[in-house]
Symmetry: D2
Subunit: 427 residues, 4 copies
């Protein structure tokens, strides 16, 4: 499997490339806030989410805490108090501001936070002039960390603005009929895979990967088949029309309890107006594109849909096995769509493995055999979340392209829906 | 009792005076937001409170809804959507944005809300050129309504900023010793009142009063005595030192449950640093002034303190009976203190009846005999709150002077502490 | 007002009479548990309620703690552990078993508790042979305390069994048409009262009264009129038919929030089956008697109904003023009806002032002027509950006749409905 | 692997053996209630638990619903209402009484439920006289279902009685020093296993197994080693002494949140009295046996302990791989210990794989490849719980011996502690 080499092409090993990447990632984050006011960037609409301003500050805090303070001689903090305010969950680094109260931070102002970013960027460029391998490794983590927050920034602000009836009504509604690909009504094909004893994960020798993707190890994957594309909105409407949200037998027990408690009747952000279904794109109501992949569904909904169709979700091993033959290309953040896009299936190869929307797998997020937590504060990165969450694979339209790779394991709780999440059927 | 006439001096019956009052009140509201950023004005720190921006918009909505729309020919709404967004609780006027979600309104922006105020002010001045008695009566209510929100705006933003450790630390701490009046350590005197069959409330014939202050009626008030001044911070520290917050016998049953649940050990905003007690003034920590009235206490705390001292709280009838001989003057909003101030007691007359801090009374907020709800939307003003709340009297350092009068009945729930609330002992 | 003397007729001052009363009250409690199994007597269906077994034990604990332990030489406790288990809320007497966990006490068994009652009764009779005035006073309190618990025992078990679909279905349904008095459809008359400066409360000189009924004091009662009878079920159905439970304008703000949260559409225990309304009597569904007083309503519902009818609730002072001319007789526990009964109104005098159902008044439960808490543990009896509750007057079909008197003040929270509560209109 | 055959020895294929097994299992259930009163058997101390009376009825309901009603000609239900009352979670069978309200069922009485059991047993014996293979298969499920409830009955009543201070104090305390095996202080050895491609699960051809244990399939198990015995109480005290419950770095993120919220400082039921640690056995406080396996711990605690020791929990595949060489024998229900017992480890073979206490594994409860849900109501048995729960293996001192087998997968949520749960270290 040549994937490891392949997915690293964009990561320069030279210092110059790293500096360039640093500048590009940091700039991309700021670009994601275009069109948002200081007031918008205060919003925290639920404890799971964070204000955009907080994302800007926290990603900067990461570089200050793990790079500048330990490694740049004579570095003066921008503001000592930020240490406490913008720590997220690193218990080893000290106390932190309570997560559900991030929305209370009207001060420091957006302007101050922008100043913080600039101050740290200047110091980082100085540090990068004479960096060591250790430093470069930590910077790489910092950039991948920031790309993760780029995605959260997008999904968090989408959620917050969706709750403001005024913001939505001001944005107007796009009611054009979708130009679905002609073949979207064709039944998609299931492509067979032989399986066998396969290698899963990576040892991160030649390129970056998180601890939870390691070590590379063997897994026995029985024969299986995968649907060539993601489930579409049209198929989801069929599920709804067949009382999918009303029949307990289709659901996991915890899933049914959640449906009842939350009153779910459709994916998140869907709204029916005068008989037509709309969703939200770029903070605006838009007519549902029937040929596009369904999005903003929980694990419970994905699992119930699969059962309704007489199928199941793939395991993360099946997914990785199948994806090794696919280019790491797709509808990522840089395409600017901000919603999964339709795809023309031809029944000859798997489509949409990368980009468009995260694919829920049937695999809980647990350690790979031989997993070990690295030393130091960054040890808290992934290992402590290895309970009660589910692996998603493949990235979404809000994921930065260079963040994605074959072995990437994203994870969320089964009830969460505010990420760009979808599903692919397996048998 | 000449009070009714007296307290109306500042209210002009002529149109010109009303216009002048309109301009003054509207300007005062904006002045209260000086030093606050658009981000600060987004904050809603608890369901009881509202964002400052919301107060600006809601008070404006009042004039648009009850004056301009029905009475100004050809008036065009600034924005139709504001009708829904900035309604507070007037069920008759239509649906409204849920109260606990007022903090989600990043849009409309502060700038748009400021534009709204200006737009409505211009239209109002036009309307006031040719107003009728009916219109002038409604405008007067609108101004008194706005003055109520001026006080809430101050207490709401104080609460929100108090939760931001950064805002407090940036503001610094004032640790100067208080210049308490020399006689603050003298035991205050209790002044005797004869009581008897007294007239309470007003018929609002010559000046403005809310429905709940009406009608004027007879109450039999037994003999009583009132402490000449409010309870001081020094006295409250004695209560704390005597385990006041630890002894269930001193408390009402509901009060003790609240103390346990909330973990109260002192008034709101108090913090002990290196053995010294501080409170918050103008969003800044300040050394506690021992001679000043205690402030930010719940009814439960007031009641427990009184029991501890072998006294009780006055009834609202006793308070009004005693206050009829006192000028409606004191430490109001216009003094700019933003905290209750010490007073020199001389044992010859009651002090601090008006201004400084609201005084909890032992009287639940219920209708006066013969109370009737006025017709129309404004009927919802006070009557629907006549359960489970307690009457407070006298106004505070955050109350506009012209809002106060002898018969004014403020009301809050027994557990609420974020208003400028204090107590006076009675026997 | 000769009432005080009158209402004491049944209380003997002589020792012999007290012994007889002791035996009668204690026996009456046990009789109320006829038909209940040990399993039934375990039930605690909500934190407000207690298991029947707990009532049996707690009332006995009262005599052991306040009479036998301090006053009977050589008395040995039945079981030391009961001291902790069966204390209700007397903070001064020591720690106690948490109220919401009373239902966990499968041990001691009902048989042990019955043994406890017998053991204490024998010791009490011994004590009463040579009692002093102090002891007799405390015994009298104990008996009145037990009568209060007799009423709670009935309402608590009614609530618990109402939640068991099996118990209800086993009991069967009484679907006979009600034999309403012919004149029940006549509009009831309002009887006028002149009011004036009245004496309210008692000094408890010649007969027993709780601390909260004291001292006797003057209140100015303006002219008023009272409906001759309680509101009937037929009238309540009119309220429901007129969308009484759907119109926010009819409700107090807290009341409307409660209606929404609880989903109230009718009084407690009402159920519509095949177009007919039923309620529960003796743990059995029974066709609603249209002429009988409405029952099991909250203060909020009573208040909304009165507003709907253009009336109001009486104050407790009006009620007491009107009731002073009425015999303390009515449908009490001893009549065995277990539901309020219809009354024939003749428009010449007030009916149903005593018995049938408690009448919500517009008066919050607060201290009378000059109220003072007695010393000792019994001091906790009523004073600590003087916040957020409302006074009810007149007793119910579950009240022991000798417990009732003109000045009796019962009190509950505005949302509580499981007592036998009704209303009388005032103007 | 000869285990499948082996573990089935006790299951007779002949009708006579099935009848004998039926009688034995049903009798064993009743014997577990010895010493419990009708009042004890009402207790439901948390929504996770059920009253003992409910377990008696529900297991009987299973036979009535799935055997007698469909298969015994002319069968009359004991009581039609039981259908609703004693359904647990079978959505297909109809509505059911809400789980958290099972404790409200004072009626039917224990006596009636005992009558129900006898009535159904008689009818079942009649049915079994002429049973078919289908019927026998369903009866076998019913008996295994009842054995599961035998274990829950024990753990549920243990939890309920542990909350009653009176019950505990009456039972007395056993303070004898434990007679720990002399070698308990020896460091246990880790036994190496080679791993490889292994068969896991069963096809249930020759003996009973639940759907979730099927189908038999291949899993690649890397080399590993297992501790020869379970973690002991002595080792757990070391963990506590080393601030195990105070150090967030040792815990999963969800685990640490649970520790904080619940205030956990030790396993469930542990209490320190005068410096000595006690636990509960047979509803009685007993001195902690230091050499015995730790018990009543959550997954979170097991996982944190393993991390603290530099180890990890085994996967369920490792466990099953290692257990295939071990006899299915151990300290089961029939031994009557009611607490895990010490074991003498010799470092030559794995001990305590079966019995004593359930072993938390690192494996979430998800379907085996090729898992399919059987048709009919019994389809709801396990599949719907395949989310957010963790697999436990090996049975406990409360498990009936014939219920256990190599492939048995028990499952609970990570925070649950009231089962007999322990851990074994792996590397």
């Amino acid at each position: 499997m040549s994937d490891a080499a392949r997915s690293c092409d964009h990561e320069g090993s030279s210092r110059k490339q790293l500096i360039s990447q640093y500048q590009q990632v940091r700039k991309q984050t700021m670009e994601l806030t275009q069109g948002l006011s200081a007031e918008d960037m205060m919003l925290q609409s639920m404890p799971d989410a964070s204000p955009a301003k907080w994302h800007l500050a926290h990603t900067t805090w990461f570089f200050e805490t793990f790079l500048l303070q330990p490694h740049l001689a004579g570095y003066q903090s921008y503001d000592e108090a930020y240490q406490y305010l913008f720590n997220s969950y690193y218990e080893t680094v000290g106390d932190r501001h309570p997560r559900p109260l991030r929305g209370i931070l009207s001060r420091p102002s957006l302007q101050q936070v922008a100043g913080y970013r600039q101050y740290v960027d200047e110091a980082m460029l100085q540090l990068l002039q004479s960096s060591t391998a250790d430093i470069e490794a930590a910077v790489t983590i910092g950039l991948h960390h920031e790309m993760q927050h780029q995605e959260l920034l997008q999904t968090d602000i989408k959620h917050a603005l969706s709750l403001n009836p005024y913001a939505l009504s001001q944005a107007g509604t796009t009611a054009e009929h979708s130009k679905s690909a002609a073949n979207s009504e064709k039944e998609p094909e299931f492509l067979p895979f032989k399986g066998g004893l396969a290698f899963i994960g990576t040892n991160a020798e030649s390129c970056f990967a998180y601890d939870c993707e390691q070590p590379r190890h063997q897994v026995f994957v029985p024969e299986f088949s995968l649907c060539e594309r993601l489930v579409t909105n049209a198929e989801w409407l069929d599920f709804m029309a067949d009382d999918g949200y009303q029949r307990p037998r289709l659901w996991l027990s915890d899933g049914w309890a959640t449906v009842q408690k939350e009153g779910w009747q459709s994916p998140l952000y869907w709204q029916q107006i005068d008989g037509q279904w709309f969703t939200i794109k770029n903070h605006k109501r838009e007519l549902l594109d029937l040929a596009a992949p369904v999005c903003h569904i929980s694990y419970y909904e994905a699992e119930a849909f699969a059962r309704w169709r007489g199928c199941r979700l793939p395991t993360e091993f099946e997914w990785e096995y199948a994806a090794q033959f696919v280019e790491t290309e797709g509808n990522f953040l840089e395409q600017g769509h901000n919603l999964p896009q339709p795809v023309c299936g031809d029944g000859k190869s798997v489509k949409q493995m990368f980009g468009d929307a995260w694919e829920w797998t049937q695999s809980p997020f647990i350690p790979y055999p031989g997993f070990s937590v690295p030393d130091g504060a960054l040890a808290e990165y992934n290992g402590k979340f290895m309970a009660n969450q589910w692996v998603l694979r493949g990235g979404s339209c809000a994921t930065a392209a260079q963040q994605m790779r074959l072995t990437y394991r994203n994870f969320f709780y089964a009830h969460q829906r505010w990420q760009f999440t979808s599903l692919r059927l397996a048998k």
